[in-house]
């Protein structure tokens, strides 16, 4: 079943056509990676799906609902979790409180003025943190965490609204090699067990080829290849783009 459907998506900035008529689908329980050289249109494509950029034409549907023109907040309500290339967490709060905030928002409890946060959705937050291996850090302030741990906090927050679709922008950027593989393996495991559709951009080809179910390759705004890691690995056009053409 397709969770995310992107069809004929286009966007230009000034005279530059950043993305040209790109289409792809992501199914439940599947990880799709968008790769391509710098300036290929990965980020533009990604940001049109999450609502930060409004497409010129084409459509993006999540669970059958058209999302282009919706705000990131409305898209989140459709069941979309997000992580950022540079982590965005609430620095003054503890790890647990960060996750509690996402849960409070999911359960429409942010307007309450009386109960104390420390007692709300604590078990649910701890459950998520346990799944991500962050139980021991739960009481620590995010400002004091190592970068790899912040990535896990983000992931826990992204999972708090029980998403159908997970959007990850460079999920392993800025991490050590061993950490990357570990985090991505954990992410893939969660995505499969919860039947989430996951879309991510990534520079590290080891991560991509080890964990993506399918790969979309962009170059100069055009989709030049799509398929399983094996297919993409042997694709002549992809080789041209990454290794230079053999004339």
């Amino acid at each position: 079943m397709n969770i995310l459907s992107v069809s004929a998506l286009s966007k230009s900035f000034g005279g530059v056509q950043a993305v040209r008529a790109v289409s792809f689908n992501v199914e439940a329980g599947q990880l799709l990676a968008i790769i391509g050289p710098n300036g290929a249109g990965k980020s533009t494509c990604f940001n049109m799906v999450n609502g930060q950029i409004r497409p010129d034409s084409g459509s993006v549907t999540i669970g059958g609902v058209e999302v282009s023109g919706k705000t990131p907040r409305e898209i989140w309500r459709l069941g979309v979790g997000r992580t950022f290339q540079i982590t965005a967490t609430f620095a003054s709060m503890t790890v647990r409180e960060n996750v509690q905030m996402a849960l409070l928002s999911y359960h429409h409890r942010l307007a309450s003025w009386w109960p104390r946060v420390m007692n709300l959705y604590r078990e649910e937050a701890d459950e998520l943190l346990r799944r991500l291996g962050m139980s021991e850090q739960a009481h620590r302030q995010c400002a004091l965490l190592a970068y790899g741990d912040l990535k896990r906090v983000e992931l826990a927050m992204a999972l708090a609204n029980r998403p159908r679709l997970l959007l990850m922008d460079e999920p392993t950027a800025g991490m050590a090699a061993a950490e990357r593989i570990e985090l991505m393996a954990l992410t893939a495991e969660i995505v499969r067990e919860r039947r989430i559709a996951a879309l991510f951009t990534e520079h590290d080809m080891d991560v991509v080829f080890a964990h993506a179910d399918r790969i979309v390759v962009l170059n100069r705004g055009l989709l030049i290849a799509e398929g399983s890691p094996e297919d993409v690995r042997v694709d002549a056009q992809v080789r041209d783009v990454y290794l230079g053409s053999r004339r």
Binding site: T71, P72, R73, W76, R77, R82, F84, A88, T89, F90, A91, S92, M93, E97, Q100, M101, A102, L104, S105, Y106, R109, L110, A111, S112, W113, W114, P115, R116, V117, M118, L120, Q141, A143, M157, A158, A160, N161
Partner: protein, 626 residues
């Protein structure tokens, strides 16, 4: 036709004066990111020094041209040196501190300079000499126009050209522009930032001094100039775009021309209503600023600022048992005060309670919500006037008025806040200042309703509350409940959502938090509490005046919050108590209480860059939530 030309020239002369002081402020902000509250004080110093320098250089029959222009030049240089000295001795040590602390430090400088001027030149207004050879007027299209104003226009234009050449054509100017765009990068490229900052401060201060000195034939030197000029200069800088010199020139021109034409046109009949445009001059610049900020949030020629430095903000925790019992003991002591202390102490304590609630409400915006309000007195004043008018004009019983007045303030906060939450950082702060000034000016001018500058007298509590101790218990109960409620909200999901917005707006968006609405509600909550403080204040004094919503009171609130520390809810309470007590005791013993207070503020900023409570916490570990 000829009158239009004259009004236009009047506007140009005004623009020239505004530009000189605003250009310096903008340069300083652009490079050092310091919002220099003391810039108006430097302007004031410029007028005073020019007065003395010209007087010293001239004979019995007034100054010669050399004496006059020499005096102006001496003044500009002296003020530039003062600015450089301030930068080297004070600001250089706190560039790493949170922005609000730098603001507090510059406010300490304001207080010190004000009392310095009082000490040297005395409290009387001083009218300076007129410029020799330029006393008369020239005929322009048959109308007389002061010659000196023409010279002023020429000087303003020349300074603009000189600055433009300096910034565009010299190596130093290139460094200044580079630092305005990306300070860290300039540092990384090996530029000696220390001296760049000092030089910019000296130049900016000298411009303020020059701007002041040039006004000596037009307006008297007086002690209130500092805050009135800084408000004008902030407006010009914000409208033009912070850090942009051409922007400052453009904004000065627009504002001065509109003011000039308001005066020139006089009464205007619109649809049967008579609008007195000259009265509008008190607020016109703030209206312009509000419109510009809503349409172009970074000013006319400004650019969106780079990512702002986020300092890990406060983390409120529930009280630990030991702290809870200590608080209860303090509360019990406060309840016993009328039995053990004299009437004077009780009156002082009412003041402290009122300002503790006022400061706590401001802290609610500044701390958890991360929105600095420079015009918080607006809500205090609306509460005070609401209470007084509900009794006097609407005939409410005093008790009802006291409890309804906060809703007047809440309505004001809802209106002002709706615009403010669309901005952030310094721009938001400036817009709050603009709204406060508009509210002040309405109250100040609406003689028939608010009593104008005289205020409203005879606002007393009901007979059963008339004794000092009875009213003290009312104040203790209401202020105590208000502060407790604010703290409780900070610990609730809503309070956490506000902190979330302060920490990372991006993440808020990604987890579905409607930040703008949350922040708007925060304005209303803070406004309501400030209004309650104002209403209690009104009945405790028996009379109120427009000062209850003036800029100095807003600044007092800021000082209280920053003095105690912005990280925790107890900070503003400690700060308010200390500030009110200092003001009271020191003011009784010396004429120079401001200088002493300013000195204390500067010392505190240098010693405790986290505020007093923040310091205690850091020094003695996280022993509970103070």
């Amino acid at each position: 036709m000829s009158s239009i030309v004259i009004q236009f020239l009047n506007g140009l002369a005004g623009a020239s004066a505004l530009f000189l002081v605003a250009a310096g402020l903008s340069l300083i902000f652009g490079v050092t990111r310091i919002v220099n509250f003391a810039h108006g004080s430097l302007y004031m110093l410029g007028i005073y020094i020019a007065y003395s320098a010209i007087g010293w250089a001239s004979g019995s029959d007034g100054p010669g041209p050399m004496g006059f222009w020499g005096g102006v030049l001496v003044s500009a240089i002296a003020v530039g040196a003062t600015g450089a000295l301030t930068e080297m001795l004070l600001l250089r040590r706190i560039y790493g501190a949170p922005e609000l602390f730098q603001l507090l430090a510059t406010f300490g400088v304001v207080l010190v300079l004000k009392d310095f001027a009082l000490w040297v030149w005395g409290p009387e207004d001083l009218l300076g000499p007129r410029a020799p050879g330029l006393q008369g007027s020239v005929a322009i299209l048959g109308q007389a126009f002061p010659t000196y104003d023409l010279v002023l226009i020429a000087i303003g234009a020349s300074v603009l050209c000189a600055l433009w050449l300096l910034l565009r054509r010299t190596r130093w100017g290139m460094l200044v522009r580079a630092a305005t765009q990306d300070r860290e990068m300039v540092g990384a490229l090996g530029v000696n930032q220390k001296w760049l900052f000092t030089a910019v401060f000296a130049l900016g201060s000298a411009l303020a001094g020059l701007g002041g000195a040039l006004q000596i034939p037009r307006e008297p030197a007086q002690l209130l100039l500092d805050l009135s000029v800084i408000a004008d200069a902030f407006v010009v800088v914000v409208v033009g775009g912070m850090g942009s010199v051409p922007g400052a020139a453009l904004a000065a021109l627009i504002i001065a021309e509109i003011k000039s034409f308001c005066v020139g046109i006089g009464q205007l009949d619109v649809l049967g209503f008579t609008v007195s445009l000259p009265k509008l001059t008190l607020v016109v610049e703030f209206i312009v600023m509000a419109i510009v900020l809503v349409a172009r949030p970074w000013g006319l020629l400004g650019r969106a600022p780079g990512p702002q430095r986020v300092f890990a903000g406060g983390h409120e925790q529930p009280l630990q048992p030991a702290v809870r019992s200590a608080l209860l003991a303090i509360l019990a002591l406060l309840a016993a005060v009328p039995f053990i202390a004299n009437g004077y102490t009780v009156v002082l304590l009412i003041d402290i309670l009122v300002f503790a609630l006022f400061a706590a409400s401001l802290h609610f915006l500044m701390g958890p919500a991360g929105m600095a309000s420079f015009g918080h007195a607006a809500y205090f004043g609306l509460g005070a006037y609401g209470a007084a008018l509900l009794v006097k004009a609407a005939g409410f019983p005093m008790e009802t008025a006291l409890l309804s007045a906060p809703f007047v303030a809440a309505a004001g906060a809802a209106l002002f806040g709706w615009f403010c939450v669309r901005l952030s950082g310094v721009y938001l702060a400036m817009l709050t200042l603009a709204f406060a000034q508009i509210a002040w000016s309405v109250v100040f001018q609406w003689d028939t309703f608010t009593g104008g500058s005289n205020g409203i007298v005879g606002v007393w509590p009901s007979p059963w509350l008339a004794s000092g101790s009875a009213y003290y218990y009312v104040a203790l109960t209401l202020c105590g409940c208000g502060i407790w409620l604010l703290r409780r909200i900070v610990l609730s999901p809503y309070g956490f959502a506000l902190r979330a917005g302060r920490d990372s707006p991006l993440r808020c968006d990604a987890i579905g938090i409607d930040l703008v609405r949350m922040q708007w509600v925060a304005f209303i909550v803070a406004g309501t509490c400030a209004g309650l403080a104002g209403a209690i204040y009104a009945f405790s004094k028996g009379s109120i005046s427009p000062e209850t919503l003036s800029i100095p009171l807003s600044v007092d609130g800021l000082v209280m919050v920053l003095l105690g520390g912005v990280q925790t809810a107890s900070g503003p309470v400690v700060g308010a108590a200390l500030f009110t007590w200092l003001q009271d005791t020191v003011a009784r013993n010396t004429d120079y209480w401001r200088a002493l207070l300013g000195g204390i503020i500067i010392a505190l900023v240098l010693l405790f860059p986290q505020g007093i409570v923040g310091f205690i916490r850091q020094r003695f570990g996280r022993s509970g939530s103070l």
